[in-house]
Amino acid sequence: MSDWAIRVRELRYAYPDGREALRGLTLTVARGEKVALVGPNGAGKSTFLLHLNGLLRGEGVVEVLGMPVVEANFPRLRAQVGLVFQDPDDQLFSPTVFDDVAFGPLHMGLSAEEVRRRARQALEAVGMLHAAHRMPHHLSLGERKRVAIATVLAMRPELLLLDEPTAGLDPRARRSLIALLGTLPQTILVATHDMRLAAALCRRAVVMDEGLIVADGPADRLLTDAALMEAHGLEVACEC
């Protein structure tokens, strides 16, 4: 078993309309690491995350949890890599919140009893158990966001990819999410503009701009480097 959770070499990707979103990105993340991926709008963060479970395929080498990201590995890969989309409306598609959270475990082939247990636990963890039988599209944005996170937690993936998990959350939900993520033993890669989330959760930060990694190092040093942050449209993590 390899020690790398993520190993990406020279990854390039252009959208069908010709827009080059990734231009030779190289990054390795060790197992168990929690890494913040920061960068301005349009830097390519979301695009990059979509490559890590094979939803987008670019040129270059992508290895996740010791497996090359190729068709043959998709079933195993998708059970072990949990991706929370930036927009919860893209993530929630079932008639009820409970069904949505149960969808992942169910398609992993777990027993009905285990599926129910995991769904309940995941909803409990994000404080949404009370809404289990509501319809996702009737929830507020922050509530949907929390349910979206639960859908992935229920799969107990080894690698968690979170795209802007705190956007739209109220301060209390945000704090409890940060606390929850902190207790998880999994490898986490979190794309965010929330500098306080990055500082509180991650030891390591990676700055991305224009489809490339432009800085990589300890979060406390990078995120307080005013010149670096300024240069890439970010701000320093303040008042923490």
């Binding site: 979509l50 939803l55 998709f74 079933p75 598609f93 008639p95 969808f103 398609h107 599926v115």
Partner: protein, 256 residues
């Protein structure tokens, strides 16, 4: 936009029993011969009982039924004139017959009862539970999945439209042609609307693609799985058998 169930439906009769009873009700109503007024009245009062037990909001139920009635009346409008029988009234070349009137009235009665029964079901049972009931009653999984996503996507479409409309209105305080509501204003609105509809479909299409990706990301590979529904309770079985027996009795009385 699809109608919402009033209750959360976690208590009460099993959705499968509700669905079967509603279907049975509609079959019986349709099979009753013209002029079986007593039986129709019986069926109507059974609906009344259900509505009272479930504390249905009468006003909105009736409003919904009234909304659909004109369509039924329109479809049945030719019946009084095309059915052979004793002439009651001549309107130009048309002859209104007694048998025709009877058939017309019976059809309106049937429609009213069926629509009311179906509305009661939909009001009192959340859609997700109805879909699950369909599936566990043996309707092919794919068919149910298509119906369920059509339902889900209707919200997405409506939400997307509402969002775009809000965005447009919040930015169009100034009409280019002043306050007048002349032809130019209409043309300007129509052009805006056309663009919006095109945009709406594009946005919804892209969103549906992203939702598909989300399903794939969580292990979907072409087959949908579902949790088995809870086992039948004795109480629900009794209600189902009793209700069906009542319906059958009603039918037998009518055709006799």
């Amino acid at each position: 936009m699809p109608e919402m169930a009033e209750s959360d439906g976690t208590s009460g009769l099993d959705p499968r029993a509700r669905l079967l009873l509603t279907l049975g009700f509609i079959v019986v109503v349709t099979a009753l011969p013209d002029g079986a007024w007593v039986e129709m009245a019986l069926l109507a009062s059974s609906l009344l009982v259900v509505a009272v037990i479930t504390r249905t909001d009468w006003a909105s139920l009736l409003r919904r039924v009234a909304l659909l009635l004109p369509f039924a009346a329109l479809a049945a409008l030719s019946l009084p004139f095309t059915t052979a029988g004793e002439t009651l009234l001549r309107v130009g070349p048309l002859r209104l017959t007694d048998r025709g009137m009877l058939r017309f009235a019976a059809l309106i009665g049937r429609t009213l009862l069926s629509i009311t029964a179906a509305s009661l079901l939909v009001r009192q049972t959340p859609m997700p539970q109805l879909f699950q009931a369909l599936q566990s009653l043996g309707v092919p999984r794919l068919l149910v999945a298509i119906a369920a996503s059509a339902y889900r996507y209707s919200f997405i479409l409506a939400e997307e439209a509402a969002r775009m409309d809000r965005a447009r209105r919040s930015r169009s305080a100034d009409l280019p042609c002043g306050r007048g509501r002349g032809l130019r204003w209409l043309w300007w609105r129509a052009r805006g609307l056309g663009g919006m509809i095109g945009m709406l479909f594009l946005r919804s299409y892209e969103r549906s693609e992203r939702i598909y990706l989300a399903m794939v990301a969580r292990g979907y590979a072409g087959t949908l799985y579902a949790l088995e529904p809870p086992a039948w309770q004795r109480r629900d079985l009794y209600a189902l058998v009793g209700g069906m027996a009542g319906l059958l009795l009603c039918l037998l009385m009518g055709v006799r």
